[in-house]
């Protein structure tokens, strides 16, 4: 409880105490009045003050104004009827304030518990200066500083290890509970916890650009993208109050007038009392608070599993995902290419690899990286000239004065060179030297070991269509798709074709059924933006992907995609439950109030009760489905 809440608690106790005294000790009416007045003003003075301020600003539909009218009206009725029964007016104000207090405490508590999930902010960095360790604010540490991270400490800045080995707990960022072993040369991500050994680290980024700052920024700004449900509720609350107030006015005036017209007793006080009951129910707060709370909890729960969702609108879209499109590399496969075989080579295998590596030496493509690894040492670039990279086909280059062509089937066909196609799945690099076919190198990417399980889980969450996009040949794509259990694929795609393929799929999937695209964030920023929901996997290192994606998976586990859909479904279910429940109770109370069955007491109880239950229900969104 903060100070404001403590003060309110004291006021509630004082007011309730005074109310008890009047009701327990038999006092003459003229002596009761000061007690009632005391209790009423202690508990309600701020409401009355705000009501007056509201009138000054022309706000007649302000909840404080309505609460003031309802209670003062009840007091006036009691005086007019000479019953001097002020219990109701004081109690309504009292319960209204108890409700507000409870709401404040509950929201504050959930806010803290959600915030603590995201508590990955490092508080200091131990910087080494001339052999002495100084504690500094991570924001003040320049790039390239040497810092020391002790066991149990949070890694304050991104960097790589100079000395020491240890195990790193990445759970706060990735949801992965197994510690990761690190050694000199390993890159460290800020926000993780160093578990066992002392590490000397050279920083690679400033705090503002480091992983931890970027993630916090992303999470804190996630709420600026509001969902349709939130917009619905805030629009609804805008019309709800005026409509209820109008209803109250009509209830106060019309039935008595009708009674007068038919020569019956108008029963003014009864109808005015019922109208005042309407005013008590007119505050939309219970309805309004639980919706953003549910979304906030859903996003918080997901972030604990290493799933960052950039806004509640994406949570909403995720829950309607029926089509998931995968970019094969990095999502279904590990994105690590290895040379698997050399076939039909007319040269020695070493020579073929050497020509291929040299030709590809200027490329940063994963293929050239894997060639380099097999080659074993840095290629001598001075032997290569006239490099020409043909996107989606391969490379032409002059190596030691010979014209080398290294690339796929299409490149060979274009050059008019007869080649031997490969039956194995993977990327094929055909090599032709001076126009003569010299064999091919098979490079393939390892599938992740839990892909099948991930696809099964996706189907179980209700995804009806899974499509794989790949630049591989038809036969290689079919083999991969069959192995992992995907029925649809688009093969032989150049990088630019992916956009067109996803555009087609978007058209086919229709309005209500949403399409998610999952990529590893390398070269697929346009597609991530294009899809209804762009999911970037294993994106911790890639700024472009974090920028372009709507959902960021901190690690590259494909099962997280179905998990995020499941989280979204659960969260939206809770949102709808809360909307339906709150509306039902509100309208139920209005009806019973109009009929005179429910009085002010019942109205204020129902109002507070709905809010409490809605808040408790919203907190369920924190728990991730299928995980304890």
């Amino acid at each position: 409880m903060n100070r404001k809440q403590q003060k309110m608690l004291v006021r509630i106790l004082l007011s309730a105490g005074l109310l008890l005294i009047v009701n327990l000790i038999p006092l003459p009416v003229w002596l009761q009045c000061p007690f009632f007045a005391g209790a009423y003003f202690i508990i309600g003075y701020d409401v009355l003050r705000k009501a007056v301020l509201g009138i000054g600003n022309g706000r007649f539909l302000d909840e404080n104004f309505l609460m003031a009218v309802a209670t003062l009206g009840a007091i006036a009725l009691a005086i007019l009827q000479k019953s001097f029964e002020f219990n109701e007016a004081v109690a309504v104000m009292l319960f209204y304030q108890i409700g507000e207090l409870f709401q404040g405490i509950a929201v504050g508590k959930s806010r803290r518990s959600i915030a603590s999930l995201m508590d990955i902010r490092p508080d200091h960095a131990n910087v080494e200066r001339d052999g002495v360790l100084i504690q500094m604010d991570p924001e003040e540490v320049p790039v390239g500083s040497d810092i020391v991270v002790q066991p149990g400490e949070r890694i304050p800045l991104d960097g790589y290890i100079l000395e020491g080995t240890s195990a790193i707990d990445t759970a706060a960022l990735t949801g992965e509970s197994l510690p990761r072993d690190v050694f000199p040369g390993s890159e460290l991500i800020s926000g993780c916890i160093n578990l066992t050994g002392l590490l000397k680290v050279r920083t690679l980024r400033e705090y503002g650009d480091s992983t931890v700052a970027r993630i916090l920024d992303l999470v804190e700004n996630s709420a600026s993208n509001k969902s349709r449900s939130e917009n619905f509720i805030s629009k609804f609350s805008r019309i709800y109050t005026p409509v209820v107030v109008l209803g109250a006015l009509m209830l106060a005036v019309l039935p008595p007038l009708a009674a007068i017209a038919t020569n019956r007793d108008p029963l003014w006080s009864i109808w005015i009392y019922r109208a005042l009951t309407f005013l008590v129910i007119s505050c939309p707060c219970a309805l309004v608070v639980s919706i953003p709370l549910s979304f906030f909890a859903g996003i918080g729960g997901a972030s604990r599993k290493g799933i960052l969702i950039k806004g509640s609108n994406y949570l909403e879209t995720l829950s309607n995902v029926k089509t998931v499109v995968f970019d094969k590399t990095g999502t279904i496969t590990q994105g690590v290419f290895e040379v698997q075989g050399i076939h039909h080579s007319s040269l020695s295998e070493e020579d073929l690899i050497e020509y291929a590596t040299l030709a590809e030496s200027a490329s940063s493509h994963p293929i050239s990286q894997s060639l380099k690894r097999t080659y074993g040492h840095e290629p001598d670039r001075s032997r290569v000239s006239d490099i020409q990279e043909l996107s989606g086909r391969g490379i032409l280059a002059t190596v030691d004065g010979k014209h080398v062509a290294a690339g796929n089937d299409r490149l060979m066909s274009e050059l008019g060179i007869e080649f031997i196609p490969c039956r194995s799945a993977g990327t094929i690099v055909h090599i032709a030297i001076d126009g003569v076919y010299s064999g091919h190198i098979l490079i393939s990417d390892m599938e992740k070991n839990n892909v099948q399980a991930a696809m099964e889980a996706l189907k179980k969450t209700g995804v009806t269509r899974i499509v794989m996009l790949t630049g591989d040949s038809e036969s290689a794509a079919r083999q991969t798709a069959e192995r992992v259990g995907i029925r649809e694929y688009r093969s032989g795609l150049l990088p630019g074709d992916k956009v067109a393929a996803v555009e087609m799929l978007l058209k086919e999937s229709g309005q209500r059924q949403k399409l998610a695209f999952a990529g590893d964030g390398i070269n697929d920023a346009p597609v991530l933006t294009l899809a209804d929901v762009g999911i970037a996997m294993g994106a911790l290192g890639s700024d472009a992907a974090i920028e372009a994606a709507d959902v960021v998976l901190m690690d590259d586990d494909p099962v997280k995609i179905s998990l995020s859909i499941a989280i979204a479904r659960k969260c939206l279910r809770i949102v709808y439950e809360n909307i339906a429940f709150a509306l039902l109770i509100k309208f139920g109370c209005l009806l019973l109030g109009a009929l005179g069955i429910a009085g002010m007491w019942a109205a204020v109880f129902a109002d507070v009760g709905v809010m409490v239950l809605a808040v408790l229900n919203a907190m369920r969104a924190l728990r991730v489905p299928g995980h304890s």
């Binding site: 404001k4 600003n57 709401q103 700004n221």
Partner: protein, 72 residues
């Protein structure tokens, strides 16, 4: 230009009202209030002076919720 401010407000509906009130202030292009994170994200119109605009934003917000606070 976009800026984010810490706010203090007690009820969710008041946060909605603040969002509407702030959105109407001249110089504010769009405004979004996050009740859960207690943050107000304001996008200013080109050439607007954030400090001056925020003063009137606070004034307008106080009209709908006298107890609210915005740190700027």
């Amino acid at each position: 230009m976009k800026k984010s401010y810490k706010i203090e407000v007690d009820c969710a509906n008041c946060a909605n009202l603040m969002e509407q009130a702030a959105g109407r202030v001249p110089g504010v292009k769009s405004c979004s209030v996050n009740f859960m994170a207690l943050k107000m994200n304001v996008e200013f119109e080109d050439g607007a002076d954030p400090a001056r605009v925020m003063k009137s934003v606070l004034k307008e917000c106080r009209k709908v919720e006298p107890d609210c606070e915005i740190e700027f």
